[in-house]
């Protein structure tokens, strides 16, 4: 019944499609016309141009690598620069007989089999056709001369001048700056190969890695005409590269030197922060290594020696060293106790030399076995009384401690621009349930109160807790960068400032920490001797080997490397803090006696020149200004 309608529709449909087909056919013809016109343009109009290019000469696009940005300290001292260097490059597509070329090079330059192997490996990494790949770096004048004489026998082989990264301070800033090295296979997959055409180095660690994008710059290129042998005849067009941005760091090379000298030959870390800005003023991790070794490719032997050394020179202790903070965490625990209402400034605890949980026999010992008697908070900090903090931790409970200490940066990355930073660890009952499928035990809360047990912090985090106390809770993430030609560090992710219910608690804790250093009963009074300004500090020790119950700690019987790590944190001057410091001396045993003087030396070097000078000293000043 509906058939006639369909037939009618059918022919109408056909008409519609046919009209559209006609339009399509016209369009197809027009577009084919466009293709033919394009071919005519290329093959007839521009024939001469293309034909000349293709006859004997070849057009090439050569990348021009940008100059990597330099790195300066806050006073303009060069920490990383670029040094001209000659390297031997091979363009594989132009070499007629590769094995013969290598044989010739081997005899000319007295290369070992290993050198040749490495060169061949590098050659395999070519990314584009006609890319010249540096196969040997740091050629000597004699080697350059030998190549020049034999150039005619070596098509495709060239000596090229290029810039190589150089770190004038060698091992002194190795851990802070990091280093660049040759781009490896893995990195090749993740980088923009166009942006890195012509660049053979990339930041591997540290500032060099974190600010790679700024330091690298923008690649330029030139279109050149070369003859069949690859010699450049004419530059057709050139787009200049844009050099990478120079970085000015917060670091102070002089303070860095002072910190290193104070640490002496011991293994350890010193990190100093300007509390007002978060700028890292000194960043020492000892022992260091010479980053220049890594730039042009470190030998297996050298690398093996560094990697296998018992002193772990490659280990970045400031950022990757995660230690139990020990007593250095006590000021923060005390602040948490005050603010959470678990205790008051004047509440006293009796210390018989140990603390016992009700119904448990285990004795949690104070370091002073004879006990300090009745102690309040201020005295407990000054004496580093463990019993008081066992009691306070017990009153607060681990989860409240976790909440507070987390706000101080424990257990999380605190820096803006330190690539390798480890997060440390701030335990909680939930964390333990997830990690070990076990409940949290009350005893674990007690030792957390004195910074032992699961809790781990890096020296950087400890310095940051000091900067926070010095700054009354105002957060500035620690950063190495001061400025990259107008680009400041990215502060978008700054944690919330710490607001205390009673703001005067900051001053109270600061005074207690000043007592540590400058009161007759302070544990670190020796470190502050003869000071011209007031300083606040706290010592700590991080246990390396757990001591069994009832066993007495006998350092002489332990090998040196099993001794406790010495820690010291502090800031100065207490009235208007200019610097916050954390020092770690591995196996240094006594925080106050070993790490304390290191911190004091750093304080002095930074604070003394910045103190308002007394009038008298003017007479000692040079008389140049006088007429």
């Amino acid at each position: 019944m509906s058939k006639p309608i369909h037939l009618k529709d059918h022919s109408k449909d056909a008409g519609i499609v046919h009209r559209r087909l006609l339009v399509a056919a016209v369009l197809v013809l027009a577009l084919v016309g466009a293709l033919v016109a394009r071919m005519y343009y290329l093959q007839v109009t521009q024939y001469e141009h293309h034909s000349t290019l293709s006859e004997n000469n070849r057009v090439h696009v050569q990348p021009i690598p940008p100059t990597r940005g330099r790195i300066y300290d806050r006073n303009g001292e060069v920490l990383a620069e670029n040094r001209p260097s000659y390297s031997l490059t091979i363009t594989r597509d132009r070499v007629k007989d590769l094995p013969a070329t290598f044989d010739l090079l081997k005899s000319l330059l007295a290369l070992s089999d290993e050198d040749v192997e490495q060169a061949e490996r590098r050659l395999m990494q070519a990314r584009r056709p006609f890319e010249s790949v540096p196969v040997m770096l740091e050629l000597t004048q004699e080697q350059i001369a030998r190549i020049a004489i034999n150039q005619f026998r070596l098509p495709g082989v060239e000596v090229q001048a290029s810039f190589v990264r150089y770190y004038p301070f060698a091992d002194h800033f190795a851990h802070a700056l990091g280093y660049v090295g040759r781009i490896n296979e893995r990195e090749l997959k993740s980088i923009d190969t166009v942006a890195y055409a012509g660049t053979h180095y990339i930041g591997k660690t540290g500032v060099e890695r974190y600010y790679e994008e700024l330091l690298h710059g923008t690649v330029g290129y030139e279109e050149v005409e070369t003859n069949a042998r690859g010699r450049v005849l004419r530059v057709l067009s050139r787009t200049e590269p844009v050099a990478g941005k120079d970085l000015t760091l917060q670091l102070d090379a002089n303070l860095q030197r002072v910190a290193e000298e104070a640490l002496g030959d011991r293994r350890g870390a010193v990190v100093a922060i300007d509390p007002a800005t978060g700028g890292v003023l000194a960043f020492v991790s000892k022992p260091g290594f010479d980053p220049n070794l890594f730039v042009t490719g470190i030998s297996y032997a050298d690398y093996g020696a560094l990697r296998d050394s018992l002193d772990q020179p490659l280990f970045n202790r400031v950022l990757r060293g995660q230690y139990p903070p020990g007593s250095t965490i006590k000021p923060v625990v005390a602040l948490s106790g005050l603010d959470s209402g678990a205790t008051t400034r004047s509440a006293r605890v009796y210390d018989p030399g140990f603390f016992q949980l009700p119904n448990f026999s285990h004795k949690y010992r104070n370091w002073n076995r004879s006990g300090d008697g009745w102690v309040d908070m201020s005295y407990a900090i000054a004496r580093s009384n463990d019993t008081y903090f066992y009691d306070l931790a017990n009153k607060m409970g681990i989860d409240k401690m976790h909440d507070y200490l987390t706000r101080f940066g424990i257990g999380q990355r605190v820096s803006i621009d330190m690539y390798e930073e480890a997060p440390g660890l701030m335990p909680s009952s939930e964390w333990k349930r997830n990690k070990y499928k076990q409940p949290w035990y009350p005893g674990e809360t007690l030792i957390a109160g004195i910074g032992q047990g699961y809790m781990l912090a890096t020296p950087l985090q400890l310095a940051q807790t000091m900067a926070l106390i010095a700054n009354h809770g105002k957060w500035h993430r620690p950063r190495l960068l001061m400025d990259a030609e107008g680009i400041p560090p990215d502060e978008s992710d700054t944690p919330d400032d710490i607001k205390l219910r009673d703001e005067s608690d900051w001053g109270f804790i600061t005074q207690a920490m000043q007592d540590v250093m400058q009161s007759p009963h302070g544990t670190a009074r020796a470190a502050a001797k003869g000071a011209e300004y007031n300083m606040a500090g706290k010592s700590g020790t991080a246990q390396v080997v757990a001591i069994a119950q009832g066993e007495r700690y006998d350092s002489k019987s332990l090998r040196e490397r099993h001794r406790d790590h010495a820690l010291f944190v502090g800031f100065a001057p207490t009235e208007k803090p200019l610097i916050a410091v954390a020092a770690l001396v591995e196996n240094g045993e006594s925080g106050g006696r070993v790490a304390g003087p290191v911190v004091r030396a750093v304080f002095d070097a930074w604070v003394l020149p910045r103190l308002p000078k007394p009038e008298v000293e003017i007479t000692d000043a040079p008389q140049e200004a006088a007429p």
């Binding site: 058939k3 059918h10 449909d13 990348p63």
Partner: protein, 380 residues
Amino acid sequence: MKRPTPMPASAGLSRRESFWTRIHVDPWLLVLILGLAVVDAFVLYSASGKSVGMVYRQMAYFAVGIAVMVVIAQFQPRFMQRWVPVAYVGGTLLLVAVLLFGTEAKGAQRWLTVPGVMRFQPSEILKLVMPMSVAWYLGARTLPPRFKHVVIALAIIFIPVVLILKQPDLGTSLLIAASGIFALLLAGLLLRYIIGALLLLAPAAAGMWYFVMHGYQKQRVLTFLNPESDPLGSGWNIIQSKAAIGSGGVFGKGWLQGTQSHLDFLPEGHTDFIIAVLAEEFGMVGVCLLLGVYMLLISRGLVITLQAQDAFCKLLAGSITLTFFVYVFVNIGMVSGLLPVVGVPLPFISYGGTSLITLLSGFGILMSIHTHRKWMAQSS
């Protein structure tokens, strides 16, 4: 049951079917395709650096593809029509599967691997299923399509296209979208819809450009539109291919005499950029002859579309033919620097089995449409 029911075939019995119709092969298409295979053998031999193995493999692909084409031609268009919904849903599910557990290669996730059996790209299937689906949907409705039907047809087009875009495979997704849109346009999509869509797209694109996209994304779009601004990346190929084409001149340098293409200046000389080799060695004359063969193929496709007997067949045949032209146009336009670089092979000439077999399957459909006609409607 809105679908037009074909007339009984009794009228056709009186007329004797030719040999070609009985075996359901269109001799015109077959001869042209075989001609292109011969051209391909020569060009590929040169472009591959005289690799007999590669030519041999490509000819084997041609053999397999032609066999597939002939087999497909045996099916009634009505049979295909019946299975379109299943094919569409199946193909789309395969695309989802690719995104979920596809095999990754060169930064894109395009393949599905059946362990130990094979590896294939479901987007290839969609190249055929897409025009069929739109033709199936619109062919069953009165033309020109009403607004509601246009919206549904667009949905049919864009679901798989978006899935392919996410792999990511811009070139393929654009081609597949084009094949669906051609069917929609052939169905008589009203001019006001076309203009309306353009009017909507322009401000949307401008808004994206000014308010949504980041600087580096804009840079990528600019580079895409003008590859020569990026001579170390995609522009490298274009600079070299233009030099190759241009140096060919009117008559070319002669077979195997191309220098640009043989000195590794031209990457992918045997796949997407093969027209540059042909243009260098056979000149403008060679390119025009090749374009002529393509035009004959397209003309034949348009004739088949004209003679197809129902809306489904017309839309399908027209869409396949025009999509084929787009392949040719986009590839040659890209290599000669007219169009942005998208990975589109040159039909029948670029090296590669998968695209060849898909292409020949499309021509199998054309043959099926043409040789299964009932003779009742033949007036001339």
